[in-house]
Symmetry: C2
Amino acid sequence: MTETAQTEQFDVATYMQTLGRQARVAARALSRAETGARNTALHAIADAILASREVLKSENRKDMDAGRKHGLDAALLDRLELTDARIDAMAEGLHQVAALPDPVGAISDLDYRPSGIQVGRMRVPLGVIGIIYESRPNVTADAAALCLKAGNACILRGGSEALHANQAIARCIEQGLEKAGLPVTAVQVVATTDRAAVGELLRLEGSVDVIVPRGGKGLIERVMQESRIPVIKHLHGVCHTYIDDQADIDKAVKVAFNAKTQRYGTCNTMETLLVADGIAGRVLPVLGKMYQDEGVELRGCEKTCQILPGIKPATEADWDEEYLAPVLSIRVVHDMDAAMDHIDRYGSQHTDVIVTENVTRARRFLREVDSSSVMVNASSRFADGFEYGLGAEIGISTDKLHARGPVGLEGLTTLKFIVLGDGHIRT
Amino acid sequence: MTETAQTEQFDVATYMQTLGRQARVAARALSRAETGARNTALHAIADAILASREVLKSENRKDMDAGRKHGLDAALLDRLELTDARIDAMAEGLHQVAALPDPVGAISDLDYRPSGIQVGRMRVPLGVIGIIYESRPNVTADAAALCLKAGNACILRGGSEALHANQAIARCIEQGLEKAGLPVTAVQVVATTDRAAVGELLRLEGSVDVIVPRGGKGLIERVMQESRIPVIKHLHGVCHTYIDDQADIDKAVKVAFNAKTQRYGTCNTMETLLVADGIAGRVLPVLGKMYQDEGVELRGCEKTCQILPGIKPATEADWDEEYLAPVLSIRVVHDMDAAMDHIDRYGSQHTDVIVTENVTRARRFLREVDSSSVMVNASSRFADGFEYGLGAEIGISTDKLHARGPVGLEGLTTLKFIVLGDGHIRT
């Protein structure tokens, strides 16, 4: 591939179409491959990554040097770097995915029907998955592992700033596939930095079954605009915690503090705190001080500003904002219904939490809040594939169709119907 | 609505946006409505339909008269007609949907995680469903019933040729909703024949969660082109039956005859028969005569034409064709692998069948054929929501994401994660 990508008359459309055709062929072989072969490949890729440690680091240094030259900021350079610990983690992640139960081929609900036929469902791979991601080269190994385990071929388009490391990881993946007797085109890492490659990938509707964009809003919006292929996407996370007037104050303080401050840049971090009028005077002074000691900027509604004098007033725009930063908007609401109205209007259907001791309210909140994760008395930071026991995640979906919330192996498969008869006909 | 639709400065965009906003509000109420309320509405709609029998018939006569005047063909006029039997069937269908188990709110897989939280999934409505369909007015009641049962609001856009009957059915639906204390805007039947209404519906991405087009290829392709909203669609059904050389000949003849002739115009009807070389000489003469006696035109590959002299040779285009008519293409293939290659190349991933007594081949065919229904020793005509025990179906999906194959109540819902804790935080 690297060779093709570097010829002088390089045609990105032809190149991507070739990847698409090869992926389609590989997908068919992969869907037939036994569990053992796919697991062997995953272990062998892990071995190859550890054996190529020095190559990975030297290729990564080329990316880092180029990144510094192009003035990438410190945060981006940090995400780009392949340290020894990160190389170990990649290998470990591959072994972990190999250890997960195989979703492919599982048959469920196989029942006899009145006509005499048996009808059931079989879990099968989606086919070919296109993944578009940015900077962190370890995503190349993680994404390949999940696709492979679920029996899918994949085309991976990483950030151009990580080209050298990604290509070095691609060689390790090829070695592992070869060792397991699987087609090396089962995982293809796009070998050009030509930005047109993304557009071409989005047009491969005959070859690619689903696109997973992992990146910032700009990328996701571009993919939504351009793609004719179904997309599993994560748009944004405006997550709420509602502290009910029947909340246990200690739990409320613990959960609301953790939901904001455990990590700022993640999509399941709380961005707006809603507090019932009847408890605001008792809970906000405690929480407000804790946030301020932690360096969190608070922006409050009128009532909040009365309870916490000196903080910045929130504007209408604050309720829509995904800060991804040490900033929190706070609103005092009349009751749970007002909280649910606020979430319905401003939320992004990602993760929303109620803190209450009242079981009737907990039951209503769980049923009525239309978000991919709805929680009672727990931090929104738990919305994560590992925490949910999915083993690993390819992303968190804010879509409603197909996969909702953290997407693990199951989200990379689909169900087909199987029918068994003995010469049965319809009358 | 009728009033709005008939004002002089009628603006279809504003009208459709109003329907969208109203549906969104109704969806929230509906998602909270108890099982009993939704079932009460379904029974009450059935009662209203039976009580309005004469109105429905006289409104339908207006459509029929207009249809005759506009030169609709006999088949279309037949589909358009509301007979007493069809009115009874509509009411009966509503009672049947009411009797189905309620999918909404069902919690599954609620397990404790090592962190101490409980994580499970709750089945919830999709929200607002837009359905676009043609001619048959009974679809109005059927589609409304399924959406309502699954807790969704819907916007129904029927064929303009059925406007009067559809509006009369809409009045019955409103009566039923009112009786159950549910918002009458939970089911809105578009009251204008303006063709721009479809385009406007496809643009309501803020209000509509999924579009279900039920109609011919032209409609589906238009929807795929224009819609920014996810679509559950049925594209086409090029279904195959493969008769293996280890097939039981009696079963093969029975299944292959039924798959073609039980009904010609349905998507699960066989369009291409594949026969293993080793059995073709014994099975094709019997089957060929049966098809010809039934008036089915046969188009064969070279070998088929040798076995059945006088039939028309098949061209390359025949293998791609969904005849929906008494026409069948027949190809003799070397073995099951060749049959699966043919299906992979020409099939539409709808329903494909193997007839064999060999369990190893059956097992491989089930696993490796990538279609929404894969069958062993049964007629492809079984690919149907009722036959599969789904209770009813809104259509058959040839997509891979979300719903694949017959789409029943489950396909009109989605799963969200629920998390229960006791002040748990992430560390």
